[in-house]
């Protein structure tokens, strides 16, 4: 135990700058671990690495280059593109100058970008490639504040002759010259950045209304990052793959803030299609993915095992069964007998090791998931492989961390206990509210919205309905505003039902209805790869999604899934009345391009119920089918019509059983 005297000696000397902004942290890493890798990117098939010292040099050149073109303290810099080292460096460069980076979703169409760029009054934009440049040039006449566009990938840009359009190399070159001419400029700019300054603006995807820019200070980001690093015991040896949208708060925490605080290396995949291969090559030790990704991986493993030879299939089934019994207990540090351990060791050699290697999980220490509930089978599968997968509950306003599942206390249906330093409680309305160091500064330009969400004493409303269970774990049921009522009373929690259905590998997306009705019904999207494989096994020919979705055996398959959920619901006295009475399989996959999902792939409930009102009416009638004309938007922006006749199907309702 150190005495207070000894502690004081170890405290940093007053002259050393406090490490409370990202620019300071970056320069510190360059000094302390200058040679260690900071970033990697695969280029022409080969991983290129930049050390912390090199990254600091690039960021300095970029900052000076931006400054030479007139970027000032407080200016906003938009960042649009896939995860690329240079885009992360631009983020840091803007922060070094006291500016505010504003990352945008790279797959948003130009029209969707207008609002954010106008709202944030962005003056500079750093974008990935020609595609993004084209989008910005399209809408430039509506963006009077936008002066400069910098692009990373020069491909196809040779003939572009627009004012204020620069290549990354050009800006870096100018920056180096500027630095030679003004050698003290960069350091003085970095020193002028304060912990309470706004460090980033992240626009929420906006399930309703226009997106809002959530402004976070260095303080809230760095404290949150530091707390989570300490809680999970992360070090500068971690490897992380940055593959989720840069505009999303999670990527900002996991691939930027935590890396800046802990000093670990972040790798950028070659392209969004190569993530699987890149995962295998990098072998991250720390990983975040939405449940969808874990689902897809498990689906792929299952499909491939079904196609494997009988011996392999037997091995897989046998050892996975063993792993489900023992692996989870080993992860949680419980006692496991010698023979079970030996069996696990053998299984690891024959099955678990190879499976993990294929998935790129060989070195994984910690895997997070959040956003949607994750199925118990899914959870068990990964934990059986000794992958410590944990759910967390977060929001952009909290800089992610509200609740995290503590090690050794993992329950599939809760999101864990409050994160370090965060207080969480349930308001009288049933809504979850929180307070802590990561609470956002304000909504950009929206004092009214800020006041609505954040109380004077710092509590933030999440908009989620939930409760604490007996062990103090938070359980989220649904969005508070989505929770409805059946006509005969009783709560209708659509997302709860949808998640239950989505746990089946055959079901990709579900939208349930029931508010103000006397029973629940559902729209279902089948999972094309899983059901496709299932159909092939049964020699069921199909041409594509629409055809497969309309086939009778597929309806039977889905009906069984729905009935299993109903049987399960019947055992829950609080939700037993929300069994799904009728369903249909949609003729097209719900798509963000058609406005049916948000960019983060959440269902836009209101939009769907307006667009498919006819189908909902049919579900609540006696009709056995319904014809619909739906407009679809192709990726290039053109539209077409799909006309289809959908079948409606009844399901069995189980009597309530109280266990």
């Amino acid at each position: 135990m150190a005495s207070p005297q000894a502690l004081r000696v170890e405290a940093p000397a007053p002259s050393r700058p406090a490490l409370d902004t990202f620019p300071q942290l970056l320069l510190n890493h360059a000094a302390v671990r200058g040679e260690r890798p900071a970033m990697r990117e695969k280029d022409l098939g080969i991983w290129q690495t930049w050390s912390w010292a090199e990254v600091a040099g690039e960021v300095r050149a970029m900052a000076c280059g931006l400054a030479a073109r007139g970027f000032k303290r407080g200016d906003r810099l938009a960042i649009v593109g896939d995860n690329r080292p240079r885009l992360y460096w631009s983020m840091a460069a803007a922060q070094c100058l006291g500016g505010v980076p504003v990352p945008l979703y790279q797959d948003a169409v130009a029209e969707e970008m207008v609002f954010v760029l106008q709202d944030a009054a962005v003056t500079f934009a750093v974008v990935e490639d020609q595609e993004q440049v084209d989008k910005l040039l399209d809408i430039r006449d509506r963006l009077p504040s936008l002066q400069h566009i910098v692009y990373d990938d020069p491909r196809g840009m040779r003939h572009y002759q627009h004012d204020g359009l620069h290549s990354f190399a050009e800006v870096l070159g100018d920056g180096r010259i500027y630095h030679d001419e003004h050698p003290h400029f960069f350091q003085s700019e970095v020193d002028a950045v304060r912990a309470e300054d706004v460090a980033i603006m992240l626009y929420t995807s906006g399930t309703t209304g226009n997106p809002k820019g959530v402004a976070h200070t260095y303080h809230s980001m760095i404290v949150t990052a530091r707390n989570s690093i300490e809680m999970e015991g992360l070090t500068d040896q971690e490897e992380v793959l940055a593959y989720l949208p840069m505009a999303w708060v999670g990527d900002n925490l996991f691939s930027y803030a935590q890396s800046m605080v802990a000093g670990f290396c972040v790798s950028c995949p070659e392209s969004s299609e190569t993530v699987m291969t890149d995962m295998r090559e990098i072998g991250p030790t720390y990983y975040f993915a939405p449940p969808r990704v874990y689902e897809n991986l498990l689906t792929q493993v299952t499909i491939r095992m079904e196609d494997a030879s009988p011996i392999k299939r037997w091995l897989f089934t046998y050892f996975m069964e063993h792993a489900r019994k023992t692996g989870t207990r080993i992860v949680d540090g419980q006692q496991v007998g010698f023979w079970d351990r030996l069996g696990y060791w053998l299984g690891n050699l024959l099955v678990y090791g190879p499976v993990k290697n294929v998935l790129g999980f060989s070195r994984i220490k910690l895997a997070f998931t959040a956003g949607e509930a994750i199925g118990p089978e899914l959870f068990d599968f990964y934990r059986a492989l000794k992958i410590n997968i944990k759910q967390l509950y977060g929001s952009t306003e909290a800089y992610v961390m509200i609740c995290v599942q503590p090690n050794g206390q993992i329950k599939p249906d809760t999101v864990g206990t409050p994160a370090p330093g965060v207080e969480v409680k349930i308001a009288d309305s049933g809504e979850v509210i929180f307070r802590g160091p990561g609470v956002f500064h304000s909504y950009w330009n929206r004092p009214d919205a800020t006041a609505e969400t954040k109380t004077d004493d710092g509590w933030v409303l999440t908009g989620d309905a939930g409760f604490f269970d007996d062990d103090g774990h938070l359980k989220i049921i649904d969005r508070a505003k989505d929770v409805g009522k059946f006509t005969q009373g009783g709560m209708f929690a659509p997302k709860y039902l949808e998640n239950k259905l989505k746990f089946f590998p055959y079901i990709k997306e579900v939208v349930t209805f029931g508010d103000g009705r006397d029973h629940a019904t559902a729209f279902i999207n089948i999972d094309l790869s899983a059901v496709g494989n299932w159909a092939e096994k049964r020699n069921l020919p199909y041409t594509g999604y629409t055809d497969l979705a309309g086939q009778e055996p597929v309806y039977e398959l889905i009906r069984e899934c729905v009935e299993k959920v109903n049987a399960d619901l019947a055992r829950d006295p609080r939700l037993g009345h929300s069994q799904i009475k009728r369903f249909l399989i949609l003729h097209k996959e719900l798509d963000a391009d058609d406005g049916e999902l948000t960019r983060t792939r959440k269902v836009r409930r209101k939009f769907i119920s307006e667009r498919y009102g006819m189908l909902i009416d049919a579900l609540y009638s006696d009709a056995v089918d319904c014809t619909i004309d739906a407009q679809v938007k192709f990726e290039d922006g053109r539209t077409g019509n799909i006309r289809a006749t959908l079948k409606l199907r009844d399901t069995q309702i189980f009597p309530l059983t109280t266990a």
Partner: protein, 262 residues
């Protein structure tokens, strides 16, 4: 269309080519010019002689009459390997890739003519061979990057969908760094999105590398959009030659092709 791209002099001149298979006249007295850096489309109904024309140009078929002047050299016919050495690369109507080999290896085969080490050196994989392979691999990786097929570089070609195989085939042709690229129905059997991608790639190839492109295509929308010039064949005879607008207005063409198609 990019206004900066300069269309140069005639690079390929086909003069009075006639060719028949037994009694079937595939090509009758056809003459045409292809200028440097242009995208030239050959269209026509089934059996019009389009593929035969391409096969004559790159030396797969040897015409009975007429001659071909390529880069100033006249000959009645070239052998296919000569054509390749002179910078003519092509893709095929029915994909002709090595199905069991990876995408990377398939594109690497396109570098064949550019490899200079001998069999023994290659067997030992030593010194010059190693350096050469690294150089070629870099070029192949650039093509993979260009065609955005990074995610499948190690996938065996036989497992890929048709549209992607077509793209790989284009990649292999590009690996030879051709001056003249012959594409035999590059968009056949593709969906709208794949067609758009392929159009983009063809225009990019033409723009970035200055490659002259002769293509055969059935999709009139595509042809009219991306070609500088369109040549129309019907029953082995040339019935139209000009800009897409001119061809569209040509009454013979309308009667023979556009008018009768559905």
């Amino acid at each position: 269309m990019n206004p900066n791209r300069k269309i140069g002099d005639v690079i390929l001149k086909v003069e009075n080519i006639s060719m028949s298979f037994g009694g079937v006249k595939a090509l009758t007295n056809i003459s045409l010019d292809v200028r440097e850096h242009e995208v030239c489309a050959i269209i026509g109904p089934n059996g019009a002689g389009k593929s035969s024309m391409l096969n004559v140009i790159n030396g797969v078929y040897h015409p009975q009459e007429g001659r071909i002047i390529y880069k100033g050299h006249a000959s009645q016919s070239m052998h296919a390997h000569e054509a390749a050495r002179h910078g003519i690369a092509r893709t095929f109507q029915n994909i002709a890739l090595f199905k069991g080999m990876s995408v990377l290896d398939n594109i690497m085969t396109g570098r064949n003519l550019k490899m200079h080490t001998n069999f023994l050196q290659q067997a030992l994989y030593w010194g010059a061979t190693q350096r050469e392979e690294i150089r070629h691999r870099r070029k192949v990786e650039e093509i993979i990057d260009f065609l955005q097929i990074e995610n499948i570089r190690k996938t065996p070609v036989g497992r890929l969908p048709y549209g992607l195989q077509k793209r790989v085939e284009l990649g292999r042709a590009l690996a030879a760094e051709p001056t003249l690229l012959l594409l035999d129905e590059p968009m056949a059997g593709m969906n709208v999105e794949e067609k758009q991608d392929m159009c983009r790639f063809i225009l990019d190839v033409n723009d970035e590398f200055g490659t002259t492109i002769v293509l055969i295509e059935h999709d009139m929308g595509v042809v009219m959009d991306i070609s500088d010039r369109v040549i129309v064949l019907d029953y082995g005879k040339k019935i139209g030659d000009g800009s897409p607008e001119e061809v569209r207005a040509n009454p013979d063409v309308i009667a023979a092709y556009l008018g009768t198609s559905h």
